[in-house]
């Protein structure tokens, strides 16, 4: 049960001359849910962008199911079974809810756990609204469409970038209520979160990042509030 699915090894990334990641090592096991927490600018989103091939880096720095995927383009990475829920949702306004979901399965060939029906089962409201333009929904519903869209490709690893950003606590709770189902489907999940409480609830293990480095890692039970506070802000309280 500790088979490694996705891992990074001494991963560095740059924006032009600006170095944003300084040798990050993370490891995600099969079926595991990982939370990556940290303040604004800690490098969390950069890490996501690097994994999905949107940022250039060393070819060997990222391995997925034993294969080096660091040199692959974004579509190639995603084709291997890593799906991403982008920050800010990025739904397609010209498409209906159902079309937004279907486009997630655009290149899928085989069958899998996730179909329109199984997505609608975890968020029934989407079934009612399936013919509405996706951007006519509430923020929380839109977020669920974005997650559903990523699930439709039946990924082995699902990357969620700041999915609770700008949403009300009660809505965030509803979104995370769907996570056990996702876990049940066998996918590994990486959530990037600023909402530490939420992250600790769903995650099997937590990585804390600051200034482009991993400063702390462990299971939620192992980590004390103080540890996290220090790792998060870099100062002793």
């Amino acid at each position: 049960m500790t088979e490694t699915l996705l891992s990074t090894h001494d991963l560095t990334a740059h924006y032009g001359d600006f170095k944003a990641l300084f040798g990050v090592d993370i490891e995600v096991n099969k079926g595991e849910t990982i939370a990556i927490i940290g303040a604004n600018g800690a490098g969390k989103s950069t890490l996501m962008r690097a994994i999905t091939g949107l940022l250039p880096h060393a070819p060997d720095a990222i391995r997925f199911k034993g294969e080096s995927i660091g040199a692959l383009s974004a579509p190639e990475v995603l084709d291997r079974g890593i799906a991403m829920v982008p920050e800010g949702r990025r739904l397609f306004p010209s498409l209906t809810v159902e079309e937004n979901l279907l486009i997630g399965a655009h290149s899928r060939t085989g069958n899998g756990y996730w179909t329109l029906e199984s997505v609608y089962d975890i968020v029934p409201i989407l079934r009612e609204r399936k013919d509405h333009p996706a951007t006519a929904l509430s923020g929380g519903q839109q977020q669920m469409v974005a997650i559903g869209r990523a699930l439709m490709s039946n990924p082995e690893a699902l990357l969620c970038d700041e999915i609770s950003l700008g949403l009300a606590p009660v809505v965030i709770k509803e979104i995370y209520a769907s996570f056990p189902k996702i876990k049940e489907s066998g996918a590994s999940v990486i959530v990037v979160e600023q909402d530490i409480g939420q992250a600790m609830k769903v995650a099997d293990r937590v990585y804390c990042m600051m200034e482009g480095r991993v400063t702390l890692q462990g299971t939620p039970e192992e980590l004390s509030r103080d540890d996290i506070h220090n790792a998060y802000f870099g100062v002793s309280s």
Binding site: Y15, G16, D17, N40
Partner: protein, 349 residues
């Protein structure tokens, strides 16, 4: 190794000698050479105006032939209908072109981005079709300047006397000098305009429309000004061109190939958005045209292909390539618009 300052001085000296030589061409050169260079200079004027428009104001007009045409027709109207001197007609041509730019801008500015290009083209077509209906100036078949008009043009008898040449050679010399002065004036005007407050605003808009707006630059008004001023320059040039040609038809005066397509390629190949670009481009164009003159339309195919290649691989044209390789900058606008590296932090999040 020479430093930038010395290089600039040497180049400046070459420039002054070059300009002096150009002024002397009617005195020391052949008449064919004068006529050839007149063609080159007028294309240069058109290219400089289009460069200001497209390269600096971002207004990609494919309708500049409208201004050439009305400039030419206004000049003909002054001479034929009002009996004025052609030189007065040239000035009138410029103002009429500028007047046309007002409704044209009012219409074409409604079309966003790329559709502006075809919008200006449609207006040019409308103007062409309207002038084809103007029976007093020959309608669709066009008309010629009355015999002797150019011989009696203001200044021609004096030049004839001075150089001891025929009237037609003297009129060629006069139009040539006018073209040279106009080309230099356009270059100078472009340089000072771009370094002025307005020009600064223009470059700010080109970099970021929203940001420019937020610091109080009104992009539409500025662009409208550039549109009108370049229409003036283009109209004057059109009138001047057709004094030389002496015959005007709607097809020739409003030719999209002659007055816009060539001009676009000259600017693109030379270096769009740089002041020396049109000069480099017009020299390149002239050489190409001469080299391929025996092969019909092949030079157009070559010209178009080079234009495409430049846009694909060297967007700042031959001048941009030269400038990047050597570090030499002429007529640089840099002092006022320093190039800054993008802030890397701005891209995160």
């Amino acid at each position: 190794m020479l430093d930038q300052k010395t290089i600039n001085r040497i180049l400046m000296a070459f420039g002054i000698v070059g300009v002096a030589l150009l002024f002397a061409v009617p005195i020391i050169g052949s008449r064919a050479m004068v006529q050839d260079l007149f063609g080159v200079l007028t294309l240069l004027i058109l290219a400089q105006n289009w460069n200001l428009l497209a390269g600096f104001a971002g207004l990609v007009s494919v309708g500049q032939q409208a201004f050439v045409g009305v400039g030419a027709y206004a000049m003909f109207a002054c001479v034929i209908l009002l009996g004025l001197d052609p030189l007065v007609g040239i000035l009138v041509g410029g103002f009429v072109a500028m007047a046309l730019a007002v409704p044209m801008a009012f219409f074409a500015f409604r079309l966003a981005g790329a559709y502006f290009a075809i919008g200006t083209w449609v207006v040019a077509e409308i103007v062409r079709l309207c002038f084809a209906q103007w029976k007093a100036l020959g309608g669709g078949t066009g008309t010629s300047l009355p015999k002797g008009t150019t011989k009696n043009m203001f200044g021609v008898p004096e030049i004839k006397e001075l150089l001891g040449v025929s009237s037609s050679a003297a009129s060629d010399a006069l139009t040539y000098w006018l073209a040279l002065v106009l080309a230099l004036a356009t270059l100078g005007a472009g340089y000072f305009f771009l370094r002025s407050r307005m020009g600064l605003g223009l470059q700010a808009i080109r970099d970021n429309d929203e940001a420019a707006r937020s610091v109080g630059v009104n992009p539409t008004r500025l662009k409208a000004w550039v549109f009108m001023l370049t229409a003036f320059g283009t109209g004057i040039c059109g009138a001047l061109l057709f004094i030389q040609i002496t015959r005007v038809t709607p097809e020739a005066a409003f030719s999209v190939l002659d007055w816009t397509a060539f001009v676009i390629f000259i600017t693109v190949i030379g270096g769009i958005g740089t002041l020396p670009g049109p000069i480099v481009g017009v020299v390149f164009f002239y050489i190409l045209q001469r080299a391929l003159s025996d092969y019909g339309t092949v030079y157009l195919i070559v010209l178009g292909s080079i234009g495409i290649i430049v846009m694909l691989f060297a967007r700042r044209g031959l001048w941009g390539l030269f400038s990047d390789k050597t570090g030499i900058e002429l007529l640089s606008l840099r002092q006022y618009a320093p190039e800054t590296k993008p802030n890397p932090l701005a891209q995160i999040k």
